[in-house]
Amino acid sequence: MIDWTVFTPWSALAGGIVIGTAASLLLLVNGRIAGISGILGGLLRPMAGDVAWRAAFIGGLVFSPALYALVERLPAATIEAGYPLLVLAGLLVGAGTRYGSGCTSGHGVCGLSRLSPRALVATVAFMAAGFVTVFVVRHLLP
């Protein structure tokens, strides 16, 4: 059942358009794919002349809440997972995105925008795994 009280289609769509614009700019201006896991992972495999733009992009992401907070109050984030679960989840996300060559941004946004069948398979796979995991954690385990 859809929970209409928490449904925020307009801000979601507006944020999506901004994300799509940023991904488009990185592609056209810098000639790069805005895949966060790939940009971050590339820093762990440093190559000459390939480090600065990656670090700058990640720096921009990390700095963005400070800039946002100058104009508007930051929306609160509710992180229910405890520390052990966060460590496990982080390890899975880190290793999985590198093994699968992408995450929500690289496969989900950029790959689907390129109409790449490879990205579609990846997106279906990580969405399905996400649905199943939440189903197990929220409805089967308790």
Partner: protein
Amino acid sequence: MHSLSAFFIGVLFGIGLIVSGMTDPFKVIGFLDLAGAWDPSLAFVMGGAVVVGLFAFRLASKRTAAFLGGAMQVPAARHIDRRLVLGSLTFGAGWGLAGFCPGPALVALGAGYDKAVVFVLAMLAGMALFEIAERVLHGRSR
């Protein structure tokens, strides 16, 4: 110049994530919880981003160089293999456990959440483990 533009595009990407609601793991898990009180908002994030991206990637396919110079670095891989599927499934499981994917986790880290710091450190460790495994198993050092 490449780094300067990457920084500002990173800021824009982060602001898009904040506006969209993706930086709140509670909202992400609400989207992944099909069997519970489902919040379909995040489908609008990806939809909005992909609609913009479709134009950019069409435009990019006609160009050989980025605006700032240098080649357009668009992935050439087209094959759908075990790495892609297993990696994406692993990522999706981690995403469902904590509600964080790489981009939003970096933004939440910037917003000062201790739990996001822990998640990002674990994610970097997962990426590093992948790099080490690659080198040990395949002797790759691209």
